[in-house]
């Protein structure tokens, strides 16, 4: 038998009997000295088992991990750790770890799993040759996409320096709806951009969250709420995890949250329950909008003649004149219809808004059935949050200065908070739904106030952040701006003169105008179809695109294998950086083996989405705790190092000195010395030549050591006066400007009404002075979905299929103890779950004659799968769901061919199409995404369920088992991991013989 007995030293660390004398327990049995701490080291680094990025304290013994615990001082997790973090030992010992660079064997078929080991020199030469040719000829032929990457600041910068606009990370299929809705509304967002004020909130509503990135913070927060007796309402079709401990569970029908939020808004408006002071001071609610339907300029803000962006007008009640919206002390009218001097009819945003949502279509009784929540409950929820916001107001007596320099004596808090995630974002109406939820928060004045929803530095930003996506490319030339940015008008789209997409994923085209994070889920299909063009090299980092992160997995695998008539692959070259033997590795032409998270230097940078807490700007590092060179036979390099090496080899300007020599010795050197602008680098802490400066300061040669001494992170606490109302808080804005988080100290005016969206809508209506689409589906997309005020629409798939034929919504949840595909290789975590089931409501199943634990066929417009069912109580009757990414391809992840994951586990992805259902119109083949942001609409899929024939068991489809990699040893059949011989507590013979147990 092949047994792994890792770490058991050849000689015992101690003889337990020796330790016996060491101490005497209050007159009782002596206890041994348990561990030889002298033989152990404690090191601090950052967890990587998910994107929560908790601080960890790792005890290491003989270059083996003894114990991983939470770093008690860490701002994110404060000492606690989740199941994944606790199972790091088995991640580090995974048999699926890659060990050498691999090349697809010449002559073998892609995907056949025939690899040969090559040296790093050779691997890097191959890559350099390929990339330098692309860069010198047509840089966009490199498409560089990264998955749940935590170093987008570096990979994005690398792509810019390379000169390709074809770069993006997972955001487009993950939750760009949340980011975009937040950043285009209030300058921060849900997701990783903000947090509920756990310490002060009295009412917390959680929309569509199973786990999220703030894994441990949410758990710590929920405990705080419950201890304080705050109310926790969970809106979710399924009741597990967080929803299980909620005070109230709203079993919503998927895809209808926007309607629920807008109906609650309807109730609030009906009773005039809004925070008008907040709206006047901090939002664009009083701003005047041109009301000339059908004419150019309709729906845009009314500006002073200067046409200055900032010259938006309001009606000043005191002076009874128009006035600039952005001046202090003006008294704007929140409501009203006015006429401009030239006769143009104008209305305030708030007037439009009230009129819109007071419509009967939003009345609770009219939405109840569609949402699956009773009218009485909708009304009650609205009146409960109103009560808490307005009758349980909290005030913090802290002096602060507002944006106009006026002293304020307190922070007023409306202690209602919300958090929302993929239950909202993974629908094709997610952007507008998320905007609706933000609108609800804003009307109550709960933004960045005590008890409300708080931004996390470097957020909030101005709306939207002032970066425009790059469009122009030239050989051997860096881009002028980053590949991803925030369009504010059709002029910003990344399209050519004919309106055709310039990016391979068609982000920022008429298909997905505000695709802030790209559309990673479209890359493979578009590249294979040559639509908009063919590429040469697809470089994937940390993305399992051949399996759980692609829609329509089986077809994607076919596409990766697809060849031209001449026998060349349609995607000529695929490079994959992974640390483990994933399904995607199998499709690579060149595999670059990464280190594990315990083996590398890394930064979680302020230039990215750092680990900040609402009241502290924080970033952190990873520092190796295990020396991978000591692990026999492995020759791996961190992708960070590879990026810097390639940047040097390809002579990227930012990485090259005037004399043509390399600027940086390696990753550590780069992090210390690179400056984005003077004094601003990847790490914000311990800057200045002696490490005495924070946020901005010249490079510190001992910066890494300083982070190490501070246990792996840096924390800059905000002064009490800087902690709230940061969109209008001068002290905060000045700090933010100094730190490079914002470009100006101007007030960040919250945008209930989005003029950006209106510009696109006008383009769709043919009323825009600038680029406009020519194809009917684009016109329709813009004029329908780019409503400047949030609205609800039926998700696109649902609009295009027969809902009677496909009666169920099918959604996923993240298991708290598994991270996407990574954790099935973890011997401990897969014991918790190595098979997933399709869960459905017992009542609904019984109606369909479906029995508990039976096998069924689940069919969508795109395909079918065979899965095993489990019945439950806490599930909306029209919803079926499963745990995400448990199903695996046989042979991947170091698992044996008969492992449960591949034989009984399944992926929902086979059912989900990257294109809209065929209907014979011009939307056929269009991306299955949110029409505004291009966010993948995973949870729109509708299915029907039929019992499988007797004896038809096991999951389907099945794929041929992936071949083992060269040199891979078979996975062990038994593990008895231990970092040292156990120090047993011995029971003496005398005690055994004499003591009588009662």
């Amino acid at each position: 038998m092949n047994t792994l007995k890792t770490g058991m030293p050849l000689t015992d660390v101690y003889d337990p009997s020796e330790g016996l004398q060491s101490r005497q327990q209050s007159g009782s049995q002596p206890l041994p000295q348990f561990e030889d701490h002298d033989g152990q080291q404690t090191k601090y680094t950052t967890c990587y088992m998910c994107a929560c990025r908790c601080g960890i304290k790792v005890t290491v013994e003989n270059n083996q991990v003894r114990f991983i615990q939470g770093n008690p001082d860490h701002p994110v997790n404060k000492g606690v750790l989740c199941a994944k973090g606790n199972a790091g030992i088995m991640k580090q010992n995974s048999p699926a770890k890659l060990s050498k660079p691999l090349r697809r064997k010449p002559g073998s078929e892609r995907g056949a799993g025939e690899f040969e080991e090559i040296s790093w020199d050779e691997a890097l030469d191959v890559l350099e040759k390929r990339l330098s040719h692309i860069r010198a000829t047509d840089p966009k032929k490199l498409a560089y996409f990264t998955g749940r990457d935590q170093m987008q600041a570096l990979t994005g910068m690398w792509a810019s320096q390379f000169g390709t606009i074809n770069w993006a990370a997972h955001g487009g299929f993950c939750s760009v709806n949340m980011a975009a809705a937040g950043l285009y509304t209030m300058g921060h967002a849900f997701w990783e951009f903000g947090d509920p004020d756990w310490d002060n909130t009295k009412y917390f509503m959680m929309w569509g969250v199973a786990e999220d990135h703030a894994s441990n913070p949410i758990k710590l927060g929920i405990k705080k709420l419950k201890e304080r007796g705050a109310k926790f309402v969970a809106v979710n079709p399924v009741r597990t995890g967080y929803q299980a401990v909620a005070d109230e569970w709203i079993a919503i029908r998927p895809g209808t949250d926007g309607l629920l939020a807008l109906s609650m808004i309807h109730v609030l408006l009906k009773h005039q329950l809004v925070d008008d002071e907040f709206l006047i001071r901090y939002t664009n609610a009083p701003q005047l909008v041109v009301n000339t339907p059908g004419q150019k300029g309709d729906g845009l803000f009314y500006r002073r003649a200067s046409e200055d962006e900032d010259a938006v007008q309001v009606w000043d009640l005191q002076n009874e004149t128009f006035g600039d919206a952005n001046v202090a002390d003006i008294t704007p009218a929140l409501f009203g219809e006015f006429k401009a001097p030239d006769g143009t009819p104008l209305r305030t945003v708030m007037s439009i808004l009230v009129e819109k949502y007071q419509d009967d279509q939003y009345a609770p009784e009219n939405v109840a059935e569609e949402v699956g929540v009773s009218a009485a409950d909708i009304e009650r929820l609205a009146l409960e949050i109103a009560h808490v916001a307005f009758k349980e107001t909290i005030t913090l007596d802290v002096e602060w200065t507002d944006w106009a320099g006026r002293k304020q004596t307190q922070f007023v808090g409306r202690p209602v908070s919300m958090h929302a995630m993929r239950g909202i974002s993974a629908h094709s109406n997610g952007f507008q739904t998320c905007r609706a939820i933000h609108l609800l928060q804003i009307l109550l004045g709960t933004i960045d106030c005590p008890g409300g929803h708080l931004a996390k530095p470097p957020f909030p930003k101005h709306i939207p952040p002032g970066i425009k996506p790059a469009k122009e490319m030239a050989p051997n030339t860096p881009l002028k701006s980053p590949p991803l940015g925030f369009p504010t008008c059709p002029e910003d789209l990344v399209i050519d003169a004919d309106g055709k997409p310039l990016r391979i994923d068609k982000a920022y085209s008429w298909d997905a105008p505000i695709a802030n994070h790209g559309l990673m889920h479209m890359v493979i299909k578009n590249a294979v179809m040559g639509d908009p063009y063919k590429i040469d090299t697809l470089m994937l980092f940390m993305a399992n695109m051949a399996w759980n992160s692609s829609m329509n997995t089986a077809e994607t695998m076919e596409m990766l294998r697809a060849k031209e008539d001449n026998g060349d692959y349609k995607i000529p070259f695929i490079v994959c950086s992974d640390a483990f033997h994933s399904e995607t590795v199998n499709f690579a032409d060149l595999v670059l083996p990464d280190t594990t998270y315990l083996e590398r230097f890394d930064t979680i940078s302020m230039l990215d989405r750092p680990i900040s807490e609402p009241h502290a700007a924080c970033d952190s590092v990873r520092i190796p705790v295990i020396d991978h060179n000591q692990t026999s036979g492995r020759d791996v390099r961190s992708w960070q190092e590879v990026m810097i090496e390639m940047a040097g080899r390809l002579n990227f300007p930012a990485f090259t000195k005037q004399d043509g020599s390399r600027k940086y010795k390696g990753y550590k050197d780069f992090i210390i010395n690179f400056e984005k602008e003077p004094g601003i680098g990847f790490l914000a802490g311990y800057r200045g030549s002696n490490g005495e400066k924070s946020l901005r300061g010249e490079p510190n040669p001992r910066q890494w050591e300083a982070y190490e001494e501070n246990h792996g992170f840096f924390e800059h606490h905000l002064e009490p006066s800087q902690r709230y109302y940061r969109h209008a808080n001068r002290d905060y804005l000045e700090l933010a400007k100094e730190a490079g988080w914002v470009g100006s100290t101007n007030q960040i005016v919250i945008e209930l009404y989005s003029e950006t969206l209106q510009r696109f809508r006008l383009a769709g209506q043919g009323l825009y002075e600038g680029p406009m689409p020519s194809e009917p589906q684009h016109k329709e997309r813009l004029s329908t979905y780019f409503d400047p005020l949030p609205f609800h629409y039926v998700p696109l798939e649902e609009q295009r299929i027969n809902t009677a034929e496909y009666p169920f919504h099918a959604v996923n949840q993240r298991p708290m103890f598994m991270y996407h595909s990574w954790d099935s290789q973890n011997a401990w975590l897969r014991q918790i779950m190595s098979q997933n089931f399709l869960f459905m409501s017992r009542v609904a199943a019984e109606q369909q004659g479906i029995k508990d634990e039976s096998w069924v066929w689940v069919e969508s417009h795109n395909g079918r799968i065979r899965v095993q069912v489990k019945l439950m109580e806490g599930c909306n009757n029209s919803t079926v769901w499963t745990w995400n990414a448990i199903g695996k391809q046989a042979g991947a992840w170091g698992l044996k061919k008969d492992a449960n994951e591949s034989q009984q586990g399944f992926l929902m992805n086979h059912l989900i199409s990257e294109s809209l259902p065929q209907k014979g119109d011009n939307l056929d083949g269009i991306t299955n995404s949110d029409p505004v942001t291009g966010q993948a609409a995973w949870y729109d899929v509708r299915v029907k369920i039929t019992p499988a024939a007797d004896g038809d068991t096991g999951s389907w489809p099945n794929f041929e088992a992936i071949k083992p990699l060269p040199g891979a040893e078979p996975s062990p059949e038994m593990i008895s991991y231990s970092s040292h011989k156990n120090v047993n507590l011995l029971r003496s013979l005398k005690d055994i013989l004499t003591r009588g147990e009662k």
């Binding site: 009782s28 199941a83 199972a87 009741r239 967080y242 299980a244 401990v245 038994m974 507590l985 029971r987």
Partner: protein, 230 residues
Amino acid sequence: MKLGLVVDLDTCVGCHGCATACKQWNTSGTIGPLSDENPYGRDPNGAWLNRIRTYEVDDSPNSKTVNMPLSCMHCEDAACVTVCPTGASYKREEDGIVLVDQDKCMGCNLCSWACPYGARELDPDQGTMKKCTLCVDRIYDEKLPEQERKPACVLTCPTKSRLFGDFDDPDSEVSVAVRERSGKALMPELGYNPTNKYLPPRNKAVVQTYEVDKSVIGTLKSWANRVIAR
């Protein structure tokens, strides 16, 4: 002393953090390793000292989901100890911790039969019985920082749903919690007198609704502008 755990069912979200923390600490602890059979194959199965189960109470729509971690209760009348023929199993007099001396166990399983709570698991590789040690090798290890001298599962729990302490001390965190929240023992009818207790879910938080005159239906016209300076 009567040491044990309290688990708060009101806040446990079933994350399995405590179960894996327990596994990693104890696989190198006094009773380690905790072996795993077929770890990368069909039906992986290893020894765990703490497992999380989830139940649904009542029929929908009134049902409730409850996550329930289960580990050794360090029973006062621990039949697992009395049945053990080798003397490997014993209950420490000084603090009530029930332990298995790995050097003495013969792997007869009888103690696991005697345990009502499924707290004992046979190690598939070593053939000895494994169970929660209450992290005796943490709580008494003076080389560890004071605040870390707690069981691994307690330290790690992200919702702080696990308390550790001395039930003999009426002022300890555990005694107070049990008193104030009516902490309960599981299957009391069997008479094992489990030391560990479970805090039942709290009553639902209730929030008032804003008092409104529901007969009034606001229209756009009914809103009045207030003079508020920006």
